[in-house]
Symmetry: C2
Subunit: 305 residues, 2 copies
Amino acid sequence: MSGFGRVALIGIGLINGSLARVLRREGAAREIVACARRRATLDRALELGLCDRATTDPLEAVRGADLVVLGTPPAAVVPAAAAIAAGLADHAIVTDVGSIKAEIVRGMQGVLPGPDRFVGGHPVAGTEHSGPDAAFDTLFVKRRCILTPTGTTDADAVATVRRLWELTGAQVDLMTPEHHDKVLAITSHLPHLIAYTIVGTVADLEDREKTDVFKYAAGGFTDFTRIAGSDPTMWRDVFLQNKEAVLEMLGRFSEDLSALQRNIRYGEGDALFDLFTRTRAIRRGVVEAGQAYVRQADDPLADEP
Amino acid sequence: MSGFGRVALIGIGLINGSLARVLRREGAAREIVACARRRATLDRALELGLCDRATTDPLEAVRGADLVVLGTPPAAVVPAAAAIAAGLADHAIVTDVGSIKAEIVRGMQGVLPGPDRFVGGHPVAGTEHSGPDAAFDTLFVKRRCILTPTGTTDADAVATVRRLWELTGAQVDLMTPEHHDKVLAITSHLPHLIAYTIVGTVADLEDREKTDVFKYAAGGFTDFTRIAGSDPTMWRDVFLQNKEAVLEMLGRFSEDLSALQRNIRYGEGDALFDLFTRTRAIRRGVVEAGQAYVRQADDPLADEP
């Protein structure tokens, strides 16, 4: 079988919806069944052609499925696995797309009948938009997708999930769930936390000042608002479920910010200049690692209205 | 006279270089004279066709000039004005492009022979690149340019400088130097400060972790590195010269960050969700104010390699 047989998508928002579009385009699924809590979401998914069948019943959704993708917000991934467990075929492979991994991978042990056929996954891609209407089939092109198998994960299951993500155009990497959470805490979670904070600080300004902030946002603030426009439910879950690594990185950041604040207060220009020169070198490292190029060329955010 | 006569550009980097390209394209200057400290910079400016004449001598540069644009880093603007003062014609209009305004406008009083013909200016535009090679003639299109005349500034001087910036495609706004510094502290200076800090935090990570950060930077970190790749000299000056407003906004931000940190530590999901919902609304405000569109369509950063 070159395809993935019957695929059950639990949750049909930006990520699973985009995955559905890829499966459609490639003719890689014999049938796509979507499951969501709200009937209106499923009706829309059907209208958009994201699935062949749609049901609000998790057990019905996974019956006879060869591959199940849990596409819910992070905190709902393990509960969703619990809800489908009784309906899973023996050979079914289960994966997820949650932005945190350690807590999810641990949670699966007590919940799934065959936890070794679960492969933790995280496509590092997204836009500030959510829901089935936000889905598009190039979302994952040239982006990274991290898989986090453990020592006991079935090798065939890993190979299948890897094949799924490679089909989307993503570059697949393997690492432990714990390492994933640490790396993402600094590259993604902390930046989001900071963007949410500064945009929140602006929200508390007086109306007249706020109007001016909108007007002159191009000076740097725009980038932060874009990040801080991300899905509230998902990000609440991320911070709570990756608490330890986020607080650790936030602690380092706060110390560094205090030091910089002190440099400014006491007019220590040389210290500022040295730091800004070092950060410029880091920028070069990121550009050379190809991420900046990817962002410009392929980031869906670059096409937003 | 529809043009600007003889124009002297003190400093010939990204901003003044781009201004030169506009003046050339529009045939709006009878002669462009560039002045810089380093001969190599001037040779390059001549090679690029940014000026007709080039000199390292400020007095020679402004002799007979109708309009002088001080395009140095913020801390060098008032010293540059002092260096040209003795060479200025009586009718010469002087303006600058510094990112902070109150300290510069105050400084001109004791330095220029005719401080009323000085008009403080700040084009809110830029890229992470600097120097004459970074200049291009659409840098200011659809961007804001803020002018900060005082109660005694000559009305004709304001009209001339306004005409100059409108020629570049910028939208010109007038406000007091103090209001400018306050608005920019939150829209630009604080975002830069925070971006510098988080990128600096990464610079202190161990090598193996740093490599992974580069690899997965697309998760949010890339935006920060772009901001933190900005010119070190200019930004050192900005933070030191707008110290008061920056420290005030930084104080608010730090309080808000501590509150958020506490929410995470104690698992207060509702508080996180509420904040993230509010920031999403702010994002919509910025998009509606047109800045996000401008960024996508015209921001030169969108074309970086």
